[in-house]
């Protein structure tokens, strides 16, 4: 095989038949789709019939590592997971940091595709090309922490890496995540897909080489580009010592911090309790993902109070938002407790927090009654009630069974106008970035493949950015569709290569020569910038075609009613609202930038141009 950076093999696992087999990953496919995200949508678009149940035996789940993964390049450790989502009912993917993806490659594979359903709980063990389906009866019901440790112990492999689910995934909670170590590919409920297949974990270990096309060139490039760009950068000085937990302070000051189920975007009364300065009081050490020079993840131990001694990696910004500002919990120590709980049970902390905030507002408005709550006093700020409710969700007990469906389905079932308080787009709960104050982000949520996700479009509107032809006007709609068009090409291409989106702070958020250089040094193809941009367009458009096949069009590319009806009530962005006209303008721009039609459907010409016909 000519190309480098790949293992050249895909492992196909049929859990219904209990069979595993290796397939080739041919050059022409690598050239057209690169890997990870590209390979996933190529496979799932061809192999999943429209309308299938995401939690049924017809669904498949894809785990992958891009060509850059396993090399010394920093910001390349993403573990990529994709499937048809039980939360959105559409194609969805999620990525995690950590060490799993690199180890998958050393074990001999670029990807694992799991299909069918096992009769009993199992896990998959892959080492140096060999794969084995093993009994997981003793692991079923265990937390993600316990299960991963037990697997390493029973295999006698201290350095093996796992992706696994917790009890939430086993019980098919629609927002259960996939956990790689303590890193979560959290969003869109892919953990529930694993649970529906009775697949507890995929554990990998290997001693095979990851080769690159030009190792001397790469070594030189490493020093000249990423390492030298990194020194003194925001990633070096900011993220590496503070992580994303530095962001609550920033967003609070901007007045763009989703608070109390997005009824406002300021949380003045929390003081500094959710800021980095408070978090520092419990910092133990800093961590890195595989091969990375940044140390974004920090490890925290609760120093005092009722949750004293609880340890977690993080919390990340989104978790501080979901439990802190959304549920009015002005206490970092409590947020850490909730974060750890989500990690152990295997829940997406964003959807969990937003679902709790939704339920709290429903309780307040009388849409959920006391009787339904089974004695839990679910009101804003009541941490103990939140813990109890999370346990009910994980076990699907009482009203937990309803909330385990996510805000969209839960609101439909509650009725009586509860949908208004369900802050989701296409079924996915919103992360902590403003739709009203940063209009481009709002558009990103409205059109995102995954629904309200901050990694399709990105929130890049805090300062002017020449790469995006952006002047710094956050509330302006015009130009934001084109801007997110540029960004989505980049996010899709990045997810194909396997690199972390934080590298945007190093290489820029628009595909440029630097991305091509990196890929060519590893792969040995003579990719051009145009060709790489085309990969991003091809992958993003094929994702759209999957969604279109499931019935998605312009009518679905919208936002929660609250963002149209209620303006931000206070703070620097007081008065900001999204109007339908603004959304229409941005949608037109965005579709035009991807050359989809006015209804958001890729045109036959565009499909042909991207080589996606047939």
């Amino acid at each position: 095989m000519g190309r480098k950076g790949y293992m050249g093999k895909i492992l196909r696992v049929d859990l219904s038949k209990g069979k595993v087999r290796a397939e080739d990953f041919p050059d022409e496919l690598a050239r057209k789709f690169v890997g990870a995200n590209g390979l996933a949508i190529y496979t799932l678009y061809r192999e999943l019939k429209p309308g299938i149940d995401p939690l049924g035996d017809q669904n498949k789940i894809f785990f992958g590592a891009g060509p850059l993964v396993g090399t010394i390049l920093p910001f390349t450790a993403r573990t990529y997971v994709a499937s048809k989502s039980p939360l959105t009912g559409l194609f969805a993917d999620a990525t995690a940091g950590g060490h799993w993806s690199a180890e998958l490659k050393y074990a001999g594979y670029d990807a694992v595709i799991v299909e069918g359903v096992s009769e009993k709980p199992v896990y998959l063990w892959i080492k140096d090309g060999k794969a084995e389906i093993r009994d997981a009866k003793h692991l079923w019901g265990k937390t993600t922490y316990e299960a991963q440790e037990m697997i390493c112990k029973e295999l006698g492999e201290r350095r093996a890496q796992s992706v696994c689910i917790g009890p939430a995934g086993e019980n098919k909670v629609r927002f259960a995540g996939v956990f790689a170590g303590v890193h979560a590919a959290a969003r869109c409920g892919l953990g529930a897909v694993m649970g529906s297949k009775k697949l507890k974990a995929i554990t990998v270990k290997g001693s095979l080489d990851v080769e690159v096309a030009d190792i001397k060139g790469l070594q030189k490039w490493l020093e000249e580009v990423p390492y030298s760009k990194f020194r003194g950068s925001g990633l070096d000085k900011g993220y590496s010592s503070r992580g994303t937990v530095m962001l609550p302070e920033l967003f609070e000051k901007f007045g763009l911090w989703g608070t109390e189920n997005w009824s406002r975007e300021t949380y003045d009364e929390s003081g500094e309790n959710l800021f980095h300065s408070t978090w520092l009081k419990g910092q133990i050490r800093r961590n890195s993902c595989f091969s990375c020079i940044a140390t974004c993840p920090g490890v925290y131990r609760v120093p005092d109070g009722p949750y004293q001694g609880t340890v977690t990696e993080g919390p990340e910004y989104e978790t501080v938002y979901a439990f802190g500002s959304m549920c009015l919990v002005p206490d970092m120590r409590a947020v850490v407790k909730l974060d750890r709980l989500c990690d152990e049970y295997g829940l997406d902390s964003i959807s969990t927090g937003v679902t709790l905030a939704f339920a709290m507002e429903c309780v307040k408005k009388g849409l959920i009654t006391k009787d339904q709550l089974g004695g839990i006093d679910l009101r804003l700020g009541n941490v103990e009630a939140m813990i109890q409710m999370i346990e009910k969700i994980v076990k699907r007990e009482g009203i937990g069974n309803l909330l385990a469906e996510g805000t969209r389905i839960a609101a439909q079932k509650i009725g009586k106008g509860a949908e208004y308080f369900a802050i989701n787009t296409k079924g996915l709960e919103h992360p902590g970035h403003s739709s009203r104050g940063t209009k481009g982000m709002g558009l990103g949520f409205a059109v995102g493949t995954r629904g309200a996700h901050h990694h399709d479009g990105r929130d890049f509107e805090y300062a002017p950015n020449p790469l995006l032809d952006y002047n710094g006007d956050r509330e302006r709609a015009k130009g934001k569709g084109t801007m997110q068009g540029i960004i989505t090409r980049w996010t899709a291409a990045a997810d194909c290569m396997g690199y972390c989106h934080f590298a945007e702070k190093l290489y820029g958020i628009r595909l440029q020569d630097v991305h091509v250089q990196m890929l060519n040094l590893v792969m040995g193809f003579d990719f051009t910038l145009d060709e790489l941009v085309r990969v991003g367009e091809r992958v993003y458009t094929l994702e759209r075609l999957f969604q279109v096949r499931e019935g998605i069009s312009r009518k679905d590319d919208t936002l929660p009613e609250r963002f149209f009806e209620e303006a931000i009530p206070e703070g620097p962005h007081k008065g900001a609202v999204v109007t339908k006209e603004e959304l229409d303008l941005m949608l037109d721009e965005f579709y035009e930038s991807h050359r989809w039609d006015k209804n958001g459907i890729p045109t036959p010409e565009r499909i042909k141009e991207l080589g996606l016909e047939g």
């Binding site: 010394i72 080489d209 990851v210 390492y227 020194r231 800093r286 091969s291 020079i293 490890v299």
Partner: protein, 148 residues
């Protein structure tokens, strides 16, 4: 005789394994942590362990255990070196080393330990957090001079 070895400071280690990648890159021209001459372990979320790397013992147990005299201690530098031509890959040295610093290369199946890259250990050069220090010389790629 000068002490000459890579010192591990687990309290500074972030677990990125760039050291292992740099090691296999410069020795083997590939990326493969199993071919690296040092190994990093996390003991838990809260702490890393000391890197498993040769400390070039005064009286190396590996040398004593080797049945074919493939391991020598350089009288000038004090470095413990494996002669791969002589090594048979029996693994006796691996068992003898109390620091888990000797292991068999998965490609050649011969014993490998830290050879200090001939005097400029690249694991140290690439370690951004400064968790690996060369006792005598060598600058970190991130500007920090190692302590002496």
């Amino acid at each position: 005789m000068e002490k000459n070895y890579v010192l591990s400071k687990p309290e500074l280690c972030t677990g990125c394994k760039v050291c292992e990648l740099a090691c296999s890159m410069v020795h083997d021209g590939v990326f493969n942590p199993e071919k690296a001459r040092l190994t990093i372990y996390a003991s838990s979320l809260e702490a890393m362990e000391k890197a498993r790397i040769c400390v070039h013992c005064e009286k190396p147990p590996c040398q004593g255990a080797c049945p074919v005299d493939a391991i020598s201690k350089d009288p000038k530098t004090g470095w413990v070196l494996v002669d791969v031509q002589t090594c048979t890959g029996c693994g006796d040295c691996v068992k003898a080393c109390p620091f888990e610093a000797m292991h068999l290369h998965p490609g050649t199946e011969r014993a490998i330990n830290c050879d200090l890259c001939g005097g400029d250990p690249q694991c140290v050069a690439y370690c951004r957090p400064g968790a690996l220090l060369f006792r005598d010389k060598g600058a970190s790629a991130f500007g920090g001079k190692s302590n002496g």
